[in-house]
Amino acid sequence: MDQDSPRVRAVRDESESTDDDLLLAVARGDRQAFSALYDRFASIAHGVVRGVVRDPSQSEEVAQEVFVEVWRMAPRFDPDRGSARTWLLTMAHRRAIDRVRSEQTSRDRTERAGHRDRGRSFDEVSEQVEVSLEHEQVRTALEVLTDLQREAVELAYYQGHTYREVAEILNTPLGTIKTRMRDGLIRLRDEMGVTA
């Protein structure tokens, strides 16, 4: 529309850019693109961090680290290896995990591993979840996994346990857990791929 002011026009253009376009613009130092990318991903990135870290103020700190790292590392983003969304959420999850693990280095990891409720269970978390097409896909895909696959994936991803801790919690040999994590992700990948 012709009567739009230039500012409104610019904002509208950004809302039409893909995630990848925004991140590539951030890689060139574009702050406005960074602001738009933040708006688009703040809730999801914060949610991923909060799911693992739990403590609200620590989660906020980690989320801040994540977005500053997004800015800093954007020039290294390679769209051929995966989407901006994957890149950003991988970073958020890893930062959250690192925070949780550095907290517990001095503690007895075994004892800690027996403590199942550090993170929130998938069911609790899913209460707060927004609805989207993708959510339905993810839930459906998770239902396809065997119990052991699903538990291994959820304990690791949603609660931040290492595979050794997962093995102890589920009282299952290490080798089996490694394979179940891989099998589980293969099934999830295929299941999501089919409906994508």
Binding site: S15, Q128, Y158, M181, L185
Partner: protein, 266 residues
């Protein structure tokens, strides 16, 4: 564990879930630099785990953005490549093959086209006809793919809108939710447990506001399926969203009692 351990190939899953302790993560990352199958599988798994992360949306504290922007102003960006000279290497040289899922989607779209063309080939007269058909089917497949992609991008953007509100409805096995952004004038309507509309009928969505009921879209549902519908409308002045059953093709005004009504808080 060393990067030559034969067992190391099974660690792609644990790595993508961030379930490797720091020391093993480093070893595995070295391995990824030299093992293409593992690198490819890992890229696919990271796309998968990012989708798991997508379930965890939770609004960030309002003042976080200002702190982030403030710190960003004082933060220098990394150089594009890892080493100083590496910057000279052209992008094309560093390029990996696209992630398998992209190849898969493209391949399956192409396969759909090929199967359709082969099926049709029996009835088609000339080679030229077949070629034209093939082109139009292939472009239809691409359009469908684009549509699916732009649809999910639109839903994601809507969910990320700052003013987004969610309204739920649950009764007699029907669950539905509406995620609305007044500012974007858009909503996503998701419903499960609805019976298919009766023969020669359709479901119609309405925005109820000061001007009465405004039709905003038709949908039907297959047995047991979930409906996901993007709706455009003026939600800012709307009091409720309703769904009625209407004759096929829809009606300009509701002609039956609503199947469900979801009230919007203003």
């Amino acid at each position: 564990m060393t990067s030559n351990d034969p067992d190391i190939h099974t660690l792609t899953g644990a790595y993508a879930l961030n379930a490797l302790p720091q020391d093993e993560r480093v070893v595995f990352e070295e391995h990824l630099d030299t093992c293409d199958p593992c690198a490819r599988e890992t890229d696919e798994f990271l796309t998968t785990t990012a989708k798991l992360g997508g379930l965890l949306s939770e609004p960030a504290p309002a003042d976080l953005k200002a702190s982030v922007l403030d710190e960003v102003d004082r933060t220098r960006q990394e150089r594009p490549a890892s080493g100083g000279e590496a910057e000279v290497v052209s992008l094309a040289d560093r390029r990996r093959p696209p992630p398998a899922w992209i190849t898969w989607i493209t391949a399956s779209a192409a396969a759909v086209a090929v199967i359709a063309v082969v099926a049709m080939g029996v009835q088609l007269g000339s080679v030229n006809d077949r070629l034209e058909q093939a082109e139009s089917i292939a472009s239809q497949a691409t359009e469908q793919l684009d549509e699916v992609q732009s649809r999910s991008a639109r839903i994601e953007q809507l969910l990320a809108a700052p003013d987004v509100q969610t309204v739920s409805y649950q009764q007699e096995g029907v669950h539905s939710r509406l995620v609305v952004s007044d500012e974007r004038g858009e909503a996503v309507f998701v419903a499960s447990g609805l019976d298919p509309a009766p023969h020669e009928h359709t479901y119609e969505l309405w925005v109820h506001g000061d001007d009465g009921a405004v039709p905003v879209g038709l949908f039907d549902v297959e047995n047991g399926a979930t409906v996901t519908q993007i709706v455009e409308g003026d939600f800012a002045s709307a009091a409720a969203i309703g769904v009625t059953v209407e004759p096929a093709g829809g009606s300009p005004q509701p002609t039956t009692d609503p199947v469900m009504v979801m009230e919007l808080s203003s």
